[in-house]
Structures are given as structure tokens and as C-alpha cells.
Amino acid sequence: MTQVHSILPAEQIAAGRAGEIPFLRLPEIRSLFGDRARRLRQLAGGHPLGDYLLFVARIADAQQALIGALPPIMPPGAADLARAHEHRMPPLSAVSHRRDPVWCDMLRRMLRQLADETEGGLRDTLVKLEGMRNEYYEAQASKLLAGVTLGLDRAHAPLIGAALQIYWAHLVATLGAENFPPLDVPTICPCCGSRPTSSIARIGGEFSGYRYLHCSLCATEWHYVRIKCSNCESTRGIHCYGIEGGSAAVKAECCDECGTYRKILYQDKDPHVDPVADDMATLALDLLVAEQHGKRLAGMNFMLVHGEAEEGEDSPPPELVGSSPPPG
């Protein structure tokens, strides 16, 4: 292993800013999804899930095209923001924010664009979903955003999730970092309260060396100290698994206290790692950690929703069945 040691730049010390950790990295919406598409294509060559990674790359292309063409969305008002800040709650909560139905139109545009360049059964799935009503989109979105597995369509989840990602990333970028102070709970997104997909130890400029959690919904990244469980905040029993002889840039960070794991990416080992793309491309790591060591997946990745729920899928509380109200 190479010995690389960081040196504080003289200017940073002179400016008195040495030692300040930037808390937030808001999504760079001009390149977020385009970069992801590029990384997915890079990973797809010779990969056992190559076809799927290429399909998700096309979703990311569509996301990048659409986020630049979004009509203005009304962000929450000053009173709503003040209330969220007062109670230290996420201002754009994934479960309580009333979505502007414009996201459903975006979803349809994305599906049309994807269907036009797709053939076979996959095209049928896309066309069928395009023909569904907004009520269905909203009901599926509510399940996905709240992590409710009952009645969630796994084929539709990445597509509906992709449209929600465009909508939320756009809103977060519109509001700006000053509206997102740290929450009391450091393991959920300070903007939307969603679970992170993975974490990434960044390189480059003021972010160098710090570990950030990457939001599964709005792509915001927030600082979270290393060697600490990003699910239960324990600092005991943290260890990592990687594929022997594989990339040192992706590991599964496991916690013995709560029995979960979440991927951690090291940009100093591979500068091109992407929190969503590399999480998907290391499915083998998930399978080995889950099956050999009994760890449960804490990360949430809309582009790869796993098969079974851990518990309770057969007996949901009755109020949850078909209860998602179509907001707006």
C-alpha cells in the first residue's frame, strides 16, 4: 500500500480555516447523472451484470437530460422551512413533502425516451408503466420513499426512483446549503431524511480525506466521521470486507452492534468511484457479506431494490395497504 500523507496548504492555515470540515456537499446537478452514466459504462465492460448496468446508464443519461429541462418547482415556503429548522427535521422530507405532480410528467418523458431506444419485454414494461395513472406513480413513490416493501413493484422502483431523484436533487440545489443545517440524527439525509446508499471517502480540495454519506434520493452528501456505524452510530465492532484480490476502492463496512453493513468507497484508491454505480457493480460483495456473515443491508439504492423484505411482508398493518394519498 502506498504511503500518502496529507499536508495542510499554507494558504488554508493562514486563512484560519484549517480544521473546518465542510458538512454538506450538495449535488452538482449539471454533471451528477452524466458522471454516473459514464461510470456505469466503465464498469459494465465484462461485468456479469453488464447489461443491467448499461440500462441504468441510459436511465442516468435520461435523468441528466431531464434535470436540465425541468420547469421551476415551488420550494417549501419560509414558514415550512422555519418549522423544519426549529425542530431539526429535514426541510424536504421524503415522506411528508407534498410532491408537485410535475415529477409524474417527468417520469413519463423519461419512460418515453427510454422506450424509444429499447426493444422486447423491457420495452413493454416501460410502455406499460408510461400508461399508468398518476395515482399509481404516487402510491409506488410513497412506498419506495418510506421503505415499505409490501406491494412495491421491484421492476418499477428504479424508474419511479429515478424520476424522484431528479425532482429532489433539483429542489435541494434550488434551496441551497444554507437551508440544510445538521439534524439531531446524523445517519439520515439533512435535506430529505432518506437513508444513504453508501459512503465515500473523498479526495480533492476542502473535502479531501473526509467521509461523506450519499443520500439515496437527493444525492446530497453529508460529513460523517470514519470508523463509525452509519446505521446505529456505534464505534465498536466496525470492520470491513472487500473482495480478495479485487478493487481496494469498495468495501462493505460492517457493524457487529446492529448487524448491518453499508458500502464504503475510497476515492484515493479509484478517483472515479460513484456512490450509486459502484454499489450496484459490487453485488457479489453484498451476497458474500450477507450470506457468509449474516449482515443485513443498511444501504438503499433505488437502482437495485432487493428481492425480499426482512420481516413482516406477509402481515402488514391494515392501514398501510393502499393508503398512500396522492398529494398535490
Partner: protein
């Protein structure tokens, strides 16, 4: 919506057929076959404090090996802890050379004794070492301990022996060191716990 209903999605070979990949019509078989050919390597990152000086820089030690399988863990890399408020990921040249210090062939691993006037270092057991230290300390203390000053003031001090403890001490070890040393009346004492 009841937030307690938030669930984890289960990852397993049997369930992968119900994932988004399979549900959208993509094959998961090659991925399952690939996973069977891989082995996991366990690494651990451990926070510690650089042992050299009283600045107390935070370090992260990377070790390889599965403790649960009785494999000897080996430290493979050390770097400054970016989250540590003292050094924010940076290390001085001594700290940056810690790997050489840990794996050094010259590293002292057991007590050694050089008799007065001798040029030879001789390996001794821990019991012998403790016995020697205790004996020398007691002899010196018996000879030089000051219970009262000439004008009758009780001071109970022992000034002819000093004690230097480690730099990377925790609060707790600092407290215990202080109790042990001070209870003997020793005043010349530094354990670099000043950070």
C-alpha cells in the same frame, strides 16, 4: 405513514430473483456464479493516538486479517485521522514513519538490563525487571524521602526520583499513573497528558 415500518431489503442468492434486476428481465445467473468464485478479505480500521509527543495526533491504523479465524492481524498502513481535531489528517515526519517503527527489527520487545559500568545489554524477564525497579525505587525512597522540613512542616515528598509516562495516554491511564506516583510522594513527574 408509520416510520417504524421502514424495512431493510434482504440480500440473498435465493431472493435475487425478486430484485429489480430480474424483475426488469435481466439475468442474475452470471452474477451469482461470479460471487461463488470470490473470497472475502477482512480489514479493520482502528483509531489511535500517535505515541511520539504530547501534541497527540489522531491516527488510523489499517490492519488485515480475520481475528475471528485466529489469523494474526497485521498492520498494513497508518495515516493521519482526517476527523481528528488536533491534526485533521496530517502527520509530522515522525508520525508518518510509524509503519517503520511498528515493523522495525530493532524494536524493543522485552526488558533488557545494562549493569552499571557494563557495555552489555542483557535480556531479563518481566519479573526480574519489576523486581529491580521496585528495589531501586524503594532504596532511593528510604534514603531520601522527606517527611518533614527542618522547621517541622509536614511535606512527605520524594525528590530524588522522577517518572516519565507515555504521551498517548488516555484520561484513565493518566489518572492511575498520577495516583500511583503521587501516593509515593514523587513530585518530578510528567506523563505528557497535557493535551
Amino acid at each position: 405513514m408509520d416510520m417504524n415500518r421502514r424495512q431493510f431489503f434482504k440480500v440473498c442468492s435465493a431472493g435475487i430473483g425478486g430484485s429489480s434486476i430480474a424483475a426488469l428481465g435481466f439475468s442474475v445467473k452470471p452474477a451469482l456464479a461470479e460471487a461463488r468464485n470470490f473470497k472475502l478479505a477482512r480489514t479493520t480500521e482502528t483509531r489511535n493516538t500517535c505515541p511520539y509527543c504530547s501534541v497527540g495526533c489522531g491516527i488510523i491504523m489499517y490492519s488485515l486479517g480475520d481475528k475471528s479465524k485466529n489469523v494474526k492481524a497485521e498492520i498494513i498502513h497508518i495515516e493521519g485521522d482526517p476527523d481528528h481535531p488536533v491534526n485533521r489528517g496530517t502527520l509530522c515526519p515522525k508520525g508518518a514513519g510509524l509503519m517503520g517503527f511498528i515493523h522495525s527489527e530493532n524494536r524493543l520487545k522485552h526488558p533488557e538490563y545494562r549493569a552499571p559500568g557494563s557495555k552489555e545489554w542483557k535480556r531479563i524477564s518481566w519479573d526480574e525487571a519489576f523486581g529491580k525497579i521496585a528495589k531501586l525505587m524503594k532504596d532511593d525512597r528510604d534514603k531520601n524521602f522527606v517527611a518533614k522540613t527542618d522547621d517541622g512542616l509536614t511535606v512527605n515528598r520524594w525528590l530524588t526520583t522522577g517518572f516519565l509516562a507515555a504521551s498517548a495516554s488516555s484520561n484513565e491511564s493518566g489518572y492511575i499513573t498520577h495516583k500511583v506516583v503521587r501516593s509515593m510522594g514523587m513530585l518530578v513527574f510528567d506523563n505528557q497528558a497535557r493535551v
